[in-house]
Every structure is written in structure tokens, then in C-alpha cells.
């Protein structure tokens, strides 16, 4: 028996939100087809497509050989002719094997030819589980440097559901980064009645504050919220902006907030140099530098691959304590 979708407005796990979004969109649109390694009988490495084979059959649930480049290329060709592929990368890290197909064929196709490529690549990424250098990376910046793609990084179940359905309906190649650490830890309400047709620039102002604007996405939004609660007890009011969509970027909300608070930090789990925080910092400096009372702060992973041991890994990922400490200093500058 296929798993029934959760009822509207209920609180569900982030991983179930992803699964529900896939299932609901496949039910709504028969042209959607899933492709990925071990997604059929096995239900995927994280069991997100468990039961899908029974419900949708092997024409629409396609186990692929270990061939990321071939799979992305096939998805691109199919997407141009009316099929809507959703690819599951077993781990986000593995997309490097399909890099050329993505950045040169799929991403440039619309600009070159004005033929849309409506496809989604789901990318289970991020650290926190001691999974080592090839199962833990945060690689969104690789693709933000490539015009033609859209990049989604939901932090909450509701956004995970809504934006996955929107990504499938969007006529562009969309990279959907889902954070593995949040799969079974994040649980919140989802609204199944609001399912947009496009990925557009958006942000969530999760907490209003007057002292510092903090921008983050994915797992780091949760750590930022934790730090903001702690700092509120000390009288430091943080405005927390979560970015569930990195491309296109809602820079307007960021600039408006920065103009009010005059201090800003960007927190991401990805490595520092050339990370997307650098781009946001640059845009703030370009458009709002005279409103700032202190330099733009970035709190990130160091420029290092993820180490295996959890204790080693924990020293790299920005913790709530580290965030608190750096924000306290920023407040005093």
C-alpha cells in the first residue's frame, strides 16, 4: 500500500515533506518521472521514495546505473520534449560527476536556444553525521556561479514541501538542496494548499530584531535561531532572515533589514572562500555600505573538506555557541 499523504496543515518531518511533495506532484502530473540510484525497490538511500514503485510503476520510477552525467544528460533531453524528470542524487557530493552536463548543457540550454529544461535535481547534502569528505559537503556555491540554474535550500518542512512542488513545475533546471541533518530532526507545519508554479526570490524573516541582521539557510538557520534566543536573553535583538531560495536571491529584504540594523552577519555551513556569503556581503557593500556601523561578518565552515570523526567535524560547523560569541563581538564593534 502506498503511504498516504499527510493531511493539510499538519506538523510533519522534513523528510516526509519531501516525500509527500514528490508523491503529490507525481499524482497531479503524469509527466513527472523520478530517476536515481536505488530509488525503486530500495526506496532510495534515505527511503524518500519508499512505496513509489508500487504506486507509480517502473516506467516512472527509474533506477539508474551509477552514471550521474548520463542521467543528467538524459533528463535534459527528456525535459526538452515534455517529460519532467526529478533526479535524486544519492548524495549531493556525487553531482560533481555530472557537472558538465549540468553547467554546460542544461544550464545554458534556455539562454542558447530558448527551449526550457524543466527538471529538478534533489541533492541530499550537508554535515553533522560524521559521514566524511564525500557525503557531507555544502556545494551550493558551485552552481550559484552558473547562470541558468535555480537554487533552493529549504530549512523547514513547509518550505521543503512547497518549494519541491514549485521546483517540479518551474520550467528551469532547479537544484534542490535538502539537508540530511534536518531529515528527522526538523518537524513543523506544512500547508499543502499553497503550491506555487515557479521558484521565485523569497526569504523568511523568522525573527525581528534591531541590533544585527543575520542571514542563513539550511541547517544553519536553526542554529541561528537558537543563538538568537540566547542573545535575546542578553538584550541583543537579532533579525533572522532565512533564505529558502538562493537563486533568484531576495536581496531587497536583506538590504531593507540591514539599513535598519546597521550590522549584518551571514552564516553558512559551506566553506568560506567563494561561498555564497561572499556574494551577499558584496551586494550589501555595494548597495548599503553607508548604512553599516561595522564590517560585514561571515561565519562559515573553514576552507577544508569535511573530516570524518564527529568531534573533528563539530569543530568546523558553526555552532550556536560560536555564533553567539561572534555576534556579541559584532554588536560591540
Amino acid at each position: 500500500m502506498p503511504t498516504e499523504s499527510s493531511t493539510d496543515q499538519s506538523e510533519i518531518l522534513y523528510i516526509d515533506a519531501i516525500s509527500d511533495a514528490l508523491r503529490d506532484e507525481m499524482r497531479a502530473d503524469p509527466s513527472v518521472v523520478l530517476m536515481g540510484q536505488d530509488i525503486a525497490d530500495h526506496g532510495g538511500a534515505f527511503k524518500i521514495t519508499r512505496g513509489f514503485l508500487d504506486e507509480f510503476g517502473d516506467q516512472r520510477i527509474r533506477n539508474t546505473p551509477i552514471a550521474e552525467s548520463g542521467t543528467i544528460g538524459i533528463a535534459t533531453g527528456a525535459a526538452m520534449l515534455g517529460t519532467k524528470p526529478v533526479i535524486e542524487m544519492q548524495f549531493a557530493d556525487f553531482i560533481s560527476c555530472g557537472f558538465n552536463q549540468l553547467v554546460n548543457v542544461a544550464a545554458k540550454m534556455f539562454w542558447r536556444t530558448e527551449h526550457p529544461v524543466p527538471m529538478v535535481i534533489r541533492l541530499p547534502g550537508g554535515g553533522g553525521m560524521g559521514a566524511g569528505a564525500f557525503h557531507s559537503q555544502n556545494i551550493e556555491a558551485w552552481f550559484l556561479h552558473t547562470p541558468g540554474l535555480k537554487v533552493v535550500t529549504p530549512s523547514f518542512s513547509g518550505d521543503a514541501y512547497r518549494l519541491l512542488r514549485a521546483a517540479i513545475r518551474d520550467p528551469n533546471p532547479v537544484l534542490y538542496f535538502e539537508h540530511k541533518f534536518l531529515y528527522r530532526r526538523e518537524r513543523s507545519a506544512i500547508d499543502k494548499n499553497t503550491t506555487p508554479d515557479r521558484i521565485e526570490a523569497e526569504s523568511n524573516v523568522l525573527r525581528s530584531g534591531t541590533d544585527i541582521t543575520v542571514i542563513s539557510w539550511g541547517w544553519m538557520t536553526h542554529r541561528t535561531l537558537e543563538a538568537a534566543s540566547t542573545l535575546a536573553e542578553e538584550g541583543i535583538e537579532i533579525e533572522v532572515i532565512d533564505l529558502p531560495v538562493l537563486c533568484p536571491l531576495d536581496i531587497t529584504t536583506i538590504l531593507e533589514s540591514v539599513e535598519r540594523t546597521s550590522r549584518v552577519a551571514i552564516i553558512h555551513e559551506a566553506t568560506s572562500t567563494g561561498g555564497f556569503g561572499a556574494e551577499i556581503a558584496a551586494q550589501i557593500c555595494q548597495d548599503a555600505i553607508w548604512t553599516l556601523d561595522a564590517p560585514v561578518l561571515r561565519i562559515t565552515y573553514p576552507d577544508s573538506p569535511p573530516p570524518y570523526h564527529k568531534d573533528l567535524e563539530a569543530t568546523r560547523i558553526p555552532s550556536a555557541e560560536r555564533i553567539c560569541s561572534e555576534l556579541r563581538q559584532l554588536k560591540q564593534q
Binding site: M80, L81, K108, W111, P118
Partner: protein, 353 residues
């Protein structure tokens, strides 16, 4: 010699008509390159038998994915030769569904595309054969190349995947050079296509030199067709200078694909007649006697000899066909030259709305 029936004569005449048209097309642009009217040209000279014959085996609704050396396939697939050159070749009754639409207009736009004009298929944003032309209402699905050779093989297989998903009986035809068989995409795409039994035909135009690299430095197997066995699909080597042989092999591959049996790998053996592009000296590396061998096997000369030997056409008939093709190309390219340049102020969108 056994008496050939009329349809064999007509079919070869038709293929020859398109081959000649493609040859004149290329010669015109080669000349323009030499006079500086064009910044770059990659020539299809010597590939016409393979490309025209292969395209004769597909029909409206099928997808075509090409490279620089495939003007023969493009012209064959885009144009109704009876419309643009009435009476040049006899009407054949193969039952093949041709793509619809206005052939002359499409031909003119193709010339505009080569010249980077506003009315080209990419409005000046992409060069020569790096464009798509998809006219669903006419059954025309043509997806062009990117510069990364081999990269379009999975995309071609992807069009075949869409056909399979949608439950129709269309097929995908993709041309590559022998150099692209060394890429990972060649392997990944053929493997998936075979496992999924995709209606996909991959034609290798083996002209034995990839830019300056001879086959001895490209692969160590005896023939590339043998690789088919490794994927569990038929791999067939064919004389790429013989359009009738190519057509026969292609027809079997298309039948196999349409009936759901999966892909076929075809290796068409060709000669190297030109440099990698017209702007480089890579042809100098091809030994003189090897080049002479290729010249003596020019597919257009061979097919014209065959037509004369079979008494299908006379030498003066051939001269007239050549003149008519050359004149049409001249007129169209001149017309394209007078068309507007792309407008630098026109925005080009990055994302589809």
C-alpha cells in the same frame, strides 16, 4: 548486372540531390571563410553520404542531434527538395513522413544562423550548428551541439527516453565523431540506453582523425562497432562513403528502435577531407598518400559515378543538378547576408518564465 527497379534509381537520385546540395552549401561557406566573410567554419565535405542516408531513414517526429559535419542530415531533414528545387529529382514513394513547414524559409533561416544574423535560430547568440530547431507542429525536433564533444549523446538518449515515456514510436538519431567515443558520456549514455531499451541510434562518423589525433592514439580496439557488444547492442561498421549501404544499416537500426528492441551503434568509415576547422593546419598531419586515398573515395564522386554507370543520369544531368544546387545556395546566402544583424539592445533571458 541485375536490372535495378525504378525505386532504387529514384532513391539514389534523391540522396544524391541532397548530397550535392549539402556539398554546395559547404563549398559556399568555405569560400566565405577564405574571403573573411565568416569567422569560423567546420566543413561537412566528405560526410554527405553518411549524413544524408542516415537522415533518409528517420522521419517527422523523430529527433535529430548533430555536429558540425552533418549539414547533409540537416538539409535532408529540414527541406523538401521537391519544393525548393522542383523537378531536380523524381518524387519517391517511400511512405516516409517528411517534416512539414516552409522549406525555403527554413533554409534561409539556416543561412542566417550560419551568419549570426537576427533571423537565425539563435538570433546571433550561438554560432553555426550550436542551435536547436524544434517545430512540434511540423514534427521537426533538431537539437544542436555544444563544443564539448560527446556531451550531446546523453541528451539524444534523453529525447529517446521522452519518446519511450510518452509511448510513441519515435526514434532519436545522434551523430558523433570517433573522438567522442573516448568520453565518459559515450559510455554512460549507451549503457543506460541499452539497459532501458531506448529507441536510440548513435552514428559514429569515423574520419580517422580527431583534430590532429589519429585513431591509433584514440582507441586500441579493432573497430569501434565492436563496442556495441559490450553494451549488449548491435554494433555495425559500414562504408560511410556508400549512401545505399548506410541507408540499409540505418533502416534496420530504426526498425529495431521503433519496435522497442533498443539502441544500435553504427560506425561509418569515412575519409578526412578537411581540417578540424578551416582555420587550422591539422590536415597537414594527415600523410599525403592517405589524403589521396580519401580524395579518390569522395562520396559525391562515387555516387555520381554509380548514377552514370547505372545509366540513371548523364554527366550533363549531373552538371545541371550541381548548377541548380549551387545557384540556390548562392541566392539564399546572399539573401541572408542582406538580413539584419542581431540587435545588441534586445535582452536575452537566462531563465524561462
Amino acid at each position: 548486372m541485375r536490372e535495378l527497379d525504378a525505386s532504387v534509381h529514384d532513391s539514389l537520385r534523391e540522396m544524391h540531390g541532397y548530397m550535392r546540395l549539402a556539398r554546395e552549401w559547404d563549398l559556399r561557406f568555405e569560400k566565405m571563410f577564405r574571403t573573411g566573410a565568416l569567422s569560423k567554419w567546420y566543413s561537412s565535405v566528405g560526410n554527405e553520404a553518411t549524413t544524408v542516408a542516415a537522415a533518409c531513414a528517420i522521419e517527422a517526429g523523430d529527433s535529430l542531434l548533430t555536429l558540425h559535419r552533418d549539414s547533409g542530415a540537416i538539409l535532408r531533414h529540414y527541406l523538401d527538395i521537391h519544393e525548393i528545387l522542383p523537378g531536380l529529382v523524381p518524387q519517391t514513394s517511400s511512405g516516409r513522413k517528411s517534416v512539414g513547414g516552409d522549406s525555403r524559409q527554413r533554409f534561409l533561416r539556416l543561412a542566417c544562423q550560419m551568419l549570426g544574423r537576427k533571423h537565425g535560430f539563435s538570433a546571433g547568440h550561438e554560432r553555426s550548428y550550436h542551435y536547436n530547431l524544434i517545430e512540434e507542429q511540423h514534427g521537426l525536433i533538431h537539437i544542436g551541439m555544444i563544443s564539448h564533444l560527446g556531451s550531446m549523446i546523453p541528451v539524444a538518449a534523453g529525447t529517446a527516453f521522452a519518446f519511450q515515456q510518452q509511448g510513441n514510436h519515435q526514434v532519436a538519431l545522434n551523430f558523433i565523431g570517433e573522438g567522442a567515443t573516448s568520453t565518459g558520456d559515450f559510455h554512460e549514455a549507451l549503457n543506460i540506453a541499452s539497459v532501458w531499451k531506448l529507441p536510440f541510434i548513435l552514428v559514429i562518423e569515423n574520419n580517422r582523425w580527431a583534430f590532429s589525433t589519429p585513431t591509433s592514439q584514440q582507441y586500441a580496439c579493432q573497430q569501434l562497432a565492436d563496442r556495441g557488444q559490450g553494451y549488449g547492442i548491435p554494433g555495425v561498421q559500414v562504408d560511410g562513403n556508400d549512401p545505399e549501404a548506410v541507408f540499409t544499416v540505418m533502416s534496420s537500426a530504426v526498425d529495431r528502435a521503433r519496435s522497442g528492441e533498443g539502441p544500435t551503434l553504427i560506425e561509418a568509415m569515412l575519409g578526412r577531407h578537411r581540417g578540424h576547422s578551416e582555420a587550422d593546419d591539422s590536415l597537414d598531419l594527415v600523410p599525403a598518400d592517405e589524403q589521396d586515398g580519401y580524395s579518390s573515395q569522395d562520396p559525391l564522386d562515387l555516387v555520381e559515378k554509380k548514377l552514370v554507370d547505372r545509366s540513371t543520369l548523364s554527366v550533363s544531368d549531373l552538371a545541371e543538378i550541381r548548377n541548380r544546387c549551387a545557384s540556390l545556395v548562392m541566392v539564399l546566402v546572399d539573401e541572408a547576408m542582406s538580413m539584419p544583424q542581431p540587435d545588441p539592445d534586445l535582452p536575452r533571458r537566462i531563465h524561462a518564465d
